[in-house]
């Protein structure tokens, strides 16, 4: 008879741990783009995408879209000391290098004042211009690019 409380204690303990354990691995029915995974597990990272090596300009999808970068940009520093992109894309060198010139909007401050060189707010190229990789869209969509911009 003295064993009965002990028996109950053990049973309660087992049930509690079981419930806690179950709660720990319950994903709540949620599935992200990276797939279903439980909170207590770390999924392996996706393999890195490969940046496209060197292609001709890629057509824009919509008006005012910043053109994307169709070449590698590894090691191209853009900081207060130097801007590697402007080595080719600045007005000064674009003709010589055959690169696309930066648009004149890059010379404007946010108040619409035109400066004699690139405006600080437009200096950091990769804020808008993205180097392209072999990455397929994560979510299917029905977006159609604008035809007038050279898209087929």
């Amino acid at each position: 008879m003295k064993l009965l409380p002990l028996f109950f204690t053990v049973v309660t303990f087992v049930i509690t741990t079981h419930v806690i354990a179950q709660e720990k691995v319950n994903p709540g029915g949620l599935e992200t783009i990276r797939g279903a995974s439980t909170i207590d597990e770390t999924r392996p990272a996706e393999s890195l995408k490969r940046v496209i090596k060197d292609k001709n300009p890629i057509a824009r999808n919509y008006v005012h879209q910043p053109p994307v970068v169709p070449h590698q940009t590894r090691g191209y520093r853009v900081d207060t000391n130097s801007n590697k992109c402007l080595n080719c894309h600045s007005w000064k060198y674009a003709a010589e290098t055959g690169a696309t010139k930066i648009s004149l909007t890059h010379f404007e401050t946010r108040d619409g004042k035109t400066l004699s060189d690139v405006s600080p707010r437009r200096y950091f190229c990769s804020q808008c211009h993205v180097t392209q990789a072999d990455a397929a869209p994560l979510v299917e969509n029905t977006f159609k690019p604008v035809e007038s911009l050279g898209n087929e």
Binding site: D54, H71, N87, T97
Partner: protein, 191 residues
């Protein structure tokens, strides 16, 4: 006593000529071998980064670049780019580089701030050196004659077949700051 020593020095030695020559030869081998070994020790990455000025600044910057981290596992270490391979040129460079010891002793680039402040003058010295020797250290590995333009990107082909082929430009004219951060480039040609 003094007189006997004088006669000893004055009189021809009875030791065989081949013995003296052998000693001279062995001494020469030891001295020359030791000299070159010591020289080679100063030509390693470990030696370069044994000073914190190199370890904390240029070495850390270089570790992010293609000459350190790449797909093929080939690395160009400090002396590959900064010391000529030919012996006479190497000696000249080594003597010139002894100035760095003075820099180390006086602590001119002792801190990051000090290093950054002097980066422009140090970079200019290196650019000038490479311009003058037609980017010799680059060409130790990157031989223009061996370049396959069909394997290069559009932009590379354009530049290499034009400015580089004609000898108008040399590697360092365009490829500045490929292994280390750049100083303020204001006033530098084509920047």
């Amino acid at each position: 006593m003094l007189k006997s020593l004088w006669t000893f020095l004055k009189s021809p030695s009875s030791a065989a000529l081949w013995f003296i020559l052998a000693i001279g030869f062995a001494g020469g081998v030891i001295f020359w071998g030791g000299f070159n070994t010591a020289l080679e020790v100063t030509n390693t990455e470990e030696f370069c980064i044994s000073c914190h000025e190199m370890q904390d600044n240029v070495y850390e910057e270089y570790r992010e670049t293609i000459h350190y981290a790449n797909r093929s596992g080939v690395r160009a270490t400090c002396p590959d780019c900064h010391v000529p391979k030919k012996w006479t040129d190497k000696i000249v460079r080594k003597i010139a580089a002894s100035k760095e010891v003075w820099g180390m002793l006086t602590g001119i680039i002792d801190t990051r701030e000090g290093f950054v402040d002097h980066r422009r003058s140090m970079a200019e010295r290196e650019w000038k050196r490479m311009k003058e020797n037609d980017s010799l250290e680059c060409r130790n590995c990157h031989n223009f004659e061996y370049m396959d333009f069909s394997e290069q990107g559009n932009r590379s082909v354009k530049m290499h077949s034009d400015a580089l082929a004609s000898g108008e430009k040399t590697c360092i004219d365009c490829h500045k700051g490929i292994a280390h951060e750049l100083p303020d480039m204001k006033g530098v040609e084509h920047w």
